[in-house]
């Protein structure tokens, strides 16, 4: 993936921790996942050269979770990622007013290793946990630390959730002499500070609702050294408001509708809405338990203030033509499946992501963004619990 600081992965991991503070789980589990991520080719009608291939990424995840003593539990994850392919270096409007996409010439091959360790202590009315994450690849290093806690009130009907995390990243772009941006970025740092507060409420025997607010502050070198004319501010303040609802439904052997919504806003001019829905359907076949989960996600974002398709913007001006800062909408359609038999669980997941300028709900622009990516992922996995 693009140089993602461990912080984001960290906040994701911290928030994935279940919030009910009962007795520490007693299961030990080993998990393995293999994921193949494939981006669709860039549109040949818009690329400057014949290079249309994009990223192909293989990810292997190893998970190990185990209780320690009577009230501690530790969750850990090791990730190995191999990335190869090309990415956009710039999109600009040519003399005919048409968006032209420049792809990086060489096909890179990179490896990234990521480790996360999260211990958690279970107390009478809540939990306290920590998170340590380390991510390393040849051109980027990231360390992150976090702390989180939950508190059960009103006879475990309500859970207060809080987490705080910080991260420190360092860039070391490959071939730093190739461009001034690479030279400039070499040795530069990126820091983040993030907090999340949420409340989880049991609504009735069959449903729960969680609402939360998050705030993140990024600072340091935030531009992309591999792109042309990419000059971003040296700070970014982000806010998220989110809600997740779960509803049990007595269909066949049990089912549940999971819905979530997130509003995002930052001081770069980007605001976004994300809606996510999953239907988890259980079907029991003898000793096998099968859960089929079709899912759909819709995402829409507005463009950053300094996003532009200007081919040669002034050197002292903030600028970026990175598609991720443009205005667009995206749909994900996917299907996750899990087959359980005694101590074993087998997973097969598939997802297709399609993004387009015209799918944006707000702030749609007339400019084309040919670098908008479509990708599909396929995951196969195994869990063993005892």
């Amino acid at each position: 993936m693009k140089k993602l600081s461990a912080f984001s992965a960290l906040s994701a991991a911290a928030l994935a921790i279940p919030t009910q503070a009962e007795v520490a789980p007693t299961d030990t589990s080993f998990s393995y996942r293999y994921t193949s991520y494939q981006e669709a080719d860039a549109p040949r009608e818009r690329t400057f050269t014949n290079e249309t291939g994009r990223y192909q990424i293989d990810v292997q995840q190893f998970g190990y979770r185990t209780p320690i003593g009577e009230s501690w539990y530790i969750a850990s994850e090791l990730q190995f990622e191999t990335m190869s392919g090309a990415s956009p270096t710039q999109t600009y409007k040519n003399n005919e007013g048409q968006s032209t996409l420049l792809m990086s010439g060489a096909s890179i091959e990179e490896q990234r290793t990521d480790i996360k360790i999260a211990p958690k202590k279970y107390l009478d009315h809540g939990t306290v946990g920590g998170l340590f994450a380390l991510s390393t690849e040849n051109d980027y290093q990231s360390v992150a630390l976090g702390i989180d806690g939950t508190l059960d009130i009103f006879a475990k009907h309500t859970t207060l959730i809080g987490s705080l995390s910080v991260s420190n990243d360092e860039l070391s772009p490959t071939d730093p002499d190739l461009s001034t941006s690479r030279t400039e970025a070499d040795g530069r740092k990126k820091r983040s500070f993030s907090i999340y507060e949420g409340i989880n409420q049991v609504l009735d025997k069959y449903s729960t609702l969680q609402v939360g607010i998050g705030f993140t502050q990024l600072s340091g070198y935030l531009s992309d050294p591999y792109k042309f004319e990419d000059r971003r501010p040296d700070s970014r303040d982000q806010i998220t408001l989110s809600a997740q609802h779960k509803q049990f439904a007595n269909v066949l052997d049990g089912a549940a509708l999971h819905s979530s919504y997130r509003y995002y806003y930052d001081d770069w001019g980007i605001s976004s809405h994300t809606i996510d829905m999953k239907w988890a359907q259980q079907i029991n076949l003898g000793r096998y338990r099968f859960i089929a989960t079709p899912l759909v996600r819709y995402y829409t974002q507005t463009e950053a203030d300094f996003y532009s398709l200007e081919q040669n913007p002034a050197d002292d001006q903030l600028n970026s033509s990175d598609y991720r800062l443009s205005s667009y909408g995206a749909f994900t359609f996917g299907f996750n499946s899990e087959l359980k038999l005694e101590n074993w669980a087998f997973h097969f997941d598939w997802q297709q992501y399609t993004s387009r300028e015209s799918l944006a709900l707000f702030g749609a622009s007339d400019d084309e963004a040919p670098a908008l990516v479509n990708f599909s992922t396929f995951t196969a996995g195994i869990d063993y619990k005892f």
């Binding site: 009962e22 007795v23 007693t26 009577e70 009130i153 006879a155």
Partner: protein
């Protein structure tokens, strides 16, 4: 001045209230264990607590979805086997809403002691159950000697001592 103190006090007070909303009428050590008459889970007939007066009884509330119950059922079965002849009995009360869930669980963790079923939840209400699982150790006179919440691997040892002590008393 006072209003400055009131705010944090109000928050602390409501938080304390929030943490303890439930413990009001829970049955605790020294109380007489409330009687119950419930249908059996696996066969016909009823189980009544009163009819076990004179024995040391361990009333265990469990459900198939409760993690620690996977540990407690086999352990309680062992304890019952060990002390049965001396006058010890385990009465389990299953609280699953779906009977099949309980039956499936018992296939995986079979027990020799009687299991009753309480779908309405009137018995755990009577006892003021705070969490799952919870068990009540009752002496020969029908008084609660121990309220045991949760179940960890090391709990059997502690229970053995308490049961043996109660069995010695008349």
């Amino acid at each position: 001045m006072i209003s400055k103190l009131l705010k944090p006090l109000a928050i602390a007070g409501s938080l304390a209230l929030a943490l303890n909303t439930s413990s009001a009428l829970a049955i605790s050590v020294g109380d007489t264990a409330p009687n119950f008459k419930l249908p059996r889970l696996e066969r016909s007939g009823d189980i009544q607590l009163k009819s076990y007066r004179g024995k040391v009884v361990y009333v265990d509330f469990w459900a198939s979805w409760c993690g620690p119950c996977r540990l407690s059922l086999p352990e309680l079965n062992k304890l019952r086997k060990q002390y049965r002849k001396k006058g010890f009995e385990v009465i389990a009360i299953n609280l699953d809403e779906e009977k099949e869930d309980a039956m499936e669980f018992l296939k995986e963790f079979p027990v020799a002691y009687p299991t009753a079923r309480d779908v309405e939840g009137t018995t755990p209400d009577k006892y003021g159950l705070q969490g799952m699982p919870t068990a009540y150790l009752i002496d020969r006179k029908g008084k609660v000697s121990l309220v045991h919440e949760g179940f960890k691997k090391t709990d059997s040892k502690e229970l053995k001592h308490k049961i043996a002590a109660l069995l010695k008393k008349k």
